[in-house]
């Protein structure tokens, strides 16, 4: 049952659909197709957001009530004891500090090194540029699990085992970030460099004062992606850190869950909610940038 109003995938460009005679406002009428579609989408959205809402809501129940059914989806009477409990059972401050330090330094490191390498690949001339860029791209294909054993040995050899640096250093060189920054710099005209050269600026000066400021939005994407990925990272920290004072948040939460067994859900979930806060902030302010970054280089 398709009505004329449901015609065409207008998508993001209302301008195009407005031009179609079929979508004129006075033809609007109830459409079963539309209603079924919205209901299906609402079900999907409920299934996506429901578990998160339940997590938030249950973390706000008192520990003794956290197992009770029916489940709660709206925190009518919020009870914050579970949050106090998390701080007692887990050194949250240290975990957050570790995660913030590791993630922040990786993000800044990636932004700087990727911008430099991306600029070199986009605008500087040197021998072997194409081949080198291909090698950089090829490293994107290699799964982290394949290199983890030698990386672990290397970290040991450097005397960095069980330190936060062991998590930070290997994560800074980024093939994807370099690729993204190269694309970004390619979009900036080469004439800027010519103009700067005529004004007597050195190539370094041209980068620092002309291109780098223009590339800030691209660097922001690299930074946000790095932050989101490494804040949530579990596999590498699980292997490269041993003592609890070097744990990052995901590791701490999993260990908290292990300690408690099935003791009290709300305490574990309070920890989960706390760990989600930075992700939520990034989601609110950087959603567009994250989406652009994730889909960059996929050709669409």
């Amino acid at each position: 049952m398709t009505t004329t109003t449901d015609h065409g995938l207008a998508g993001h460009s209302p301008r195009l659909s407005e031009g179609l005679p079929e979508t004129s406002p006075n033809r609007r009428r109830f459409s079963w197709n539309f209603a079924i579609r919205i209901v299906l989408l609402l079900i999907a959205a409920t299934l996506t957001l429901g578990p998160v809402l339940w997590t938030l809501s249950t973390s706000l129940r008192s520990p003794s009530e956290s197992f009770k059914l029916p489940p709660s989806f709206f925190p009518w009477n919020p009870d914050f004891t579970s949050y106090g409990e998390v701080f007692q059972q887990l050194n949250i401050f240290l975990l957050v500090l570790n995660s913030a330090l590791v993630t922040g330094l990786i993000a800044v490191g990636q932004m700087v090194t990727a911008a430099m390498a991306g600029y070199a690949f986009a605008h500087l001339k040197f021998r072997g540029r194409g081949a080198l860029f291909s090698i950089v791209l090829a490293t994107m294909m290699v799964p982290v699990q394949v290199t983890i054993v030698p990386v672990f040995m290397l970290i040991r050899g450097m005397g960095l085992s069980d330190t936060l640096l062991a998590l930070i250093l290997p994560a800074i060189p980024t093939a994807f970030g370099t690729f993204l920054m190269r694309q970004y710099f390619m979009g900036l005209p080469a004439e800027l460099a010519e103009a700067a050269a005529i004004d007597g600026a050195s190539p370094w000066r041209t980068f620092r004062s002309v291109y780098a400021p223009l590339a800030m939005p691209g660097m922001a994407i690299v930074g946000i992606l790095a932050f989101n990925f490494h804040w949530n990272e579990f596999f590498r920290p699980l292997i490269l850190t041993i003592s609890e004072q070097n744990f990052t948040l995901p590791l701490g939460l999993v260990s908290l869950q292990g300690n408690l067994g099935t003791g009290s859900i709300s305490v574990v979930l309070a920890g989960v909610v706390l760990s989600m806060i930075p992700a939520l902030v990034v989601f609110m302010f950087g959603q567009r940038a994250l989406q652009d970054g994730l889909t960059a280089g996929t050709g669409k």
Partner: protein, 329 residues
């Protein structure tokens, strides 16, 4: 024209004469004006300085480890005693090891089911979201489907463990409302495999969804007009217009989904630790266990090499197959 890539709207580099010189570095060396010589010289130095952190870092932490991993696969080594060369022993042991076999089989089964589920769901939802609806509603749905991507797989697996608990889990509570008896989700092989797949798809379908949204936005409206003039309506419109025109996106989405599903670790590790039995043990979990629990670094490397070969073979096969099925405008 894509709305997801900010670079597209900028002037294309290749349209400029300067790009010719860039595409062929070194060509201008003799032809260029003599005064440009020192600038080119300092440019070359600057290029290497700019590349140094990335190139050195990648060499140290990616390229050397790749080579080392392949070499290590031919040695027996537990870190404590000196490594001994064992030829292909690691590979033959690994291939015969029932746990390794089961884990690879699990991984392949997981990839097939999870990726099919993920792509199907993402495509259906992307088509539904792209059709006519109020803008705010579209933004809401897009954000809702994108949201799980920003969470950590470890946290997600933690709360999902509670949701799927047999006695007090919310999932079974909902099922009990429909009169369905409690399902032992995490304590039976079939149940835990289902949960691992559901949780993984729940978290990752948003990524394929984003790719499909981008692909759909690039299909010209005129194509649908032409199709409807020819009498195509509803599902037929999508079968004969959307799917063929979307095939390049589908290829990219499936390659990325398969590569990431082959590396699944966080969800089964936190949800089930690979159990019960070996029912949810994946290839990457076996790499982790043989290296860091049993200290068999050579065997772990051999498993890693095998996994990489599988990933490369599948990716190559996909691109080859795509020559037949992908329709470029």
């Amino acid at each position: 024209m894509s709305t997801t890539s900010p670079h597209r709207e900028r002037p294309k580099r290749t349209a400029r004469p300067a790009a010719k010189a860039l595409a062929n570095p070194g060509a201008g060396r003799s032809a260029g004006p003599a005064t440009a010589g020192s600038a080119r010289h300092s440019q070359r130095w600057l290029a290497w300085i700019f590349l140094a952190p990335t190139i050195l870092g990648m060499g140290l932490f990616t390229l050397i480890p790749i080579v080392a991993s392949v070499v290590l696969a031919f040695f027996r080594w537990d870190i404590i005693s000196a490594p001994t060369f064992v030829g292909f022993d690691n590979f033959s042991e690994v291939v015969q090891d029932p746990t390794v076999r089961v884990s690879f089989l699990n991984t392949i089964l997981f990839v097939v089911v999870a990726v099919a589920f993920q792509l199907g769901l993402a495509l259906a939802l992307a088509i539904m979201v792209q059709e006519k609806m109020p803008a705010w509603l579209r933004v809401f749905f897009r954000s809702a489907f994108f949201f799980p991507l920003i969470l950590s797989a470890a946290s997600v697996s933690i709360f999902m463990r509670y949701l799927f608990n047999e006695q007090f889990g919310v999932v079974n509570w909902f099922l009990s409302l429909a009169g369905i008896p409690a399902v032992p989700w995490l304590t039976t092989p079939g149940g835990s495999a289902a949960v691992v797949i559901l949780v993984y798809v729940w978290q990752n379908f948003g990524f394929s969804f984003l790719l499909f949204i981008g692909g759909l936005a690039s299909i010209p409206v005129e194509t649908y007009e032409a199709a409807s003039i020819d009498g195509a309506t509803g599902w037929r419109k999508h079968l004969y217009v959307t799917l063929p025109l979307l095939s390049p996106t589908t290829l990219v989405a499936s390659v990325m989904a398969i590569i990431s599903a082959l590396q699944v670790f966080d969800q089964p590790y936190v949800l089930t630790r690979g159990g019960p039995g070996d029912s949810t043990r994946t290839a990457v979990m076996v790499i982790f266990e043989s290296a860091f629990q049993r200290l068999e670094f050579g065997q772990a490397s051999a498993i890693g090499v095998l996994l990489t070969l599988i990933i490369m073979a599948i990716t190559a096969a996909q691109f080859r197959l795509s020559k037949r099925f992908v329709f470029y405008q």
